[in-house]
């Protein structure tokens, strides 16, 4: 099965650490000094209301938008100034909100494009076979135009495309958005499988209940800064979180 290189897993320092990160769009500042750290091999959840800045944080980590100030270290290296393709090369894959698949290309072409970085390209055939094994649905539809697939299938495709780059950290932004309940359950199954296989995952989710149940550690982000953090159970048991986000 697919698994990231083991070298990183046994390291004591966090795989990703973000410090006092400030970022936004144009002149609008969204992230107001975010600090967080993600241990290798864990699932970290990012919960919070619409517009809190979860996607913006994901984009800043992936290099889709520049940071104003602060620090992002991945595997001990400062990646703040790296363009996004270099971050992919160093092992970060963003599975973006809205999926951003290549709609006019076939399923297989989408997946192969996920392996354009040199270290992934040489193993593309093997990784592709593994992804088809994990997601038989994608194998069945390999020659279909990606834009004509269902929402759930496109989400699997986006995830598969991310896996093709042989990442160590997977940034999963709202993977269940707009999916039927059965597909939501399937997505969480896959997250558990990936964690089992040794991947490190940062998961942003509207469905706080599910996310907090599936993660090792969680951050509550509001208005561009971290309000609460703790284990999934800690946050799930927190009165404020229950009242505001879990409808209890």
């Amino acid at each position: 099965m697919i698994s990231p290189s083991l070298a990183a897993v046994s390291e004591p320092r966090p795989l990703l650490s973000v410090e006092k990160l400030e970022a936004g769009y144009g002149r609008v500042q969204i992230l107001r000094g975010i600090s967080l750290s993600i241990a290798a091999g864990t699932v970290t959840a990012l919960v919070g209301p619409n517009g809190a800045g979860k996607t913006t944080l994901m984009k800043a980590i992936a290099g889709m938008i520049p940071a104003r100030s602060g620090q992002i270290r991945f595997d001990g290296r400062d990646i703040l100034a790296m363009p996004s393709y270099q971050r992919v090369e160093s092992g970060i894959a963003l599975v973006p909100e809205g999926r951003l698949i290549f709609a006019r290309l076939s399923v297989e072409q989408n997946l192969r494009l996920g392996a354009v970085v040199p270290h992934a390209r040489s193993k593309a055939d093997q990784t592709l076979a593994e992804i088809y094994e994990r997601f038989p649905r994608l194998a069945e539809r390999r020659n279909q135009v990606a834009g004509s697939m269902s929402g759930g299938e496109q989400q699997m495709l986006a995830l598969g495309r991310g896996l093709m780059s042989q990442p160590r950290l997977i940034l999963l932004d709202e993977p269940t958005l707009g999916l039927a309940p059965i597909m939501v359950a399937r997505v969480f199954e896959v997250i558990a499988e990936l964690r089992q296989a040794g991947f490190t995952i940062l998961l942003s989710e509207q469905n706080s209940h599910l996310a907090l149940g599936a993660c090792d550690y969680a951050y509550l982000i509001e208005n561009g800064s971290i309000h609460l953090q703790g284990t999934g159970a800690d946050l799930a048991g927190n009165d404020e979180v229950q009242r505001l986000y879990m409808g209890r």
């Binding site: 769009y25 144009g26 992936a62 290099g63 889709m64 520049p66 363009p83 996004s84 393709y85 992919v88 090369e89 894959a93 963003l94 973006p96 951003l100 698949i101 290549f102 709609a103 006019r104 290309l105 072409q109 192969r112 494009l113 996920g114 354009v116 970085v117 992934a120 390209r121 135009v145 834009g147 004509s148 697939m149 269902s150 929402g151 496109q154 495309r161 093709m164 780059s165």
Partner: protein
């Protein structure tokens, strides 16, 4: 007679396909409407003319020179202006919105500089003008060279797109620039190389035109128009369909004129253009795909 027409249509189709290919590559990757595209072909044509009449260099050599010169212009434009503007979404948007005006400026400058340097007198030279008989077709050597070169370049670009890692990256940028970066494509590099490539192809197309036609500093505009018609026919940014559409235009024009008269040329071209825009705005071969 029909075979002779077929050959003529093939030749003009190949040329249209080639000119449009360069424009489509640049539009597809950078979303910039280069209305100076035909003027780059004009530059290529003058390179060939000067090289031939002053230095005695044959057009195949000029193709390399013109490609190099135009590629350098494209790269300079990218490194000097576009790269910085593409760095943030806000400036990139402004650039895309104003690209028509910017390239109009480039077009006017190129035309006037060349008109100053060479006057607006039509120029020409004669190279491989001997006529060959190939079965039922009479073909001049220079037309065969033009056809072969245009076909080879189109095919080469398609092969790169299909099989080479750079071609894949290019397709990713054409399909969805913001997603290309996150799958690991060096978008900046792809854009720089592609604009150089698109300009180079225009330059080579100009050399090809100069072998069979008289050239002037203002020959670029009709080429630009033809290229626009072709890429709209094929669907903007769809490289393969654009090449096919080049041949469609060549055939419609050649056979249309043969069946009517040369005065109908513009009516045929624009008629085809407007009809396709009305009936199939996504291009002749495009599938309307909804993105979910």
């Amino acid at each position: 007679m029909a075979a002779q027409l077929f050959f003529a249509a093939l030749c003009s189709g190949a040329l249209y396909a080639l000119v449009a290919l360069g424009l489509n590559l640049v539009y597809g990757t950078l979303r910039l409407l280069n209305i100076a595209h035909g003027d780059l072909a004009m530059i290529g044509a003058y390179v060939a003319f000067v090289a031939f009449s002053t230095f005695g260099l044959a057009p195949p050599v000029s193709m390399v020179l013109a490609a190099g010169l135009c590629a350098a212009m494209g790269w300079a434009l990218y490194a000097g202006i576009f790269r910085r503007l593409f760095a943030t979404p806000e400036t990139a948007q402004r650039l895309e919105a104003n690209s028509l005006i910017l390239f109009y400026g480039v077009s006017v400058i190129l035309q006037n500089v060349m008109a100053l340097g060479f006057t607006s007198t039509a120029r020409g030279y004669s190279y491989m003008g001997e006529v060959w008989r190939i079965g039922p077709v009479m073909a001049s050597g220079n037309r065969l060279l033009m056809l072969g070169t245009a076909l080879a370049i189109c095919l080469g670009v398609l092969l790169v797109l299909r099989f080479h890692a750079f071609g894949w990256s290019l397709r990713a940028v054409i399909e969805r620039r913001e997603a290309a970066g996150i799958v690991g494509v060096n978008v900046d590099r792809v854009q720089g190389i592609t604009i150089a490539l698109g300009f180079a192809i225009a330059g080579v197309a100009g050399v090809l035109v100069s072998m069979t036609e008289q050239i002037t500093p203002f020959m670029g505009f009709p080429l630009t128009i033809a290229a626009f018609v072709v890429i709209v026919l094929g669907g903007l940014g769809n490289i393969f369909a654009g090449i096919v559409a080049g041949f469609v235009l060549g055939f419609v024009e050649t056979f249309g004129i043969a069946l009517t008269s040369a005065t109908y040329r513009s009516i045929l071209i624009y008629g085809l253009f407007v009809t396709v825009l009305l009936l199939r705005p996504q291009g002749l071969f495009g599938k309307a795909i909804q993105v979910r």
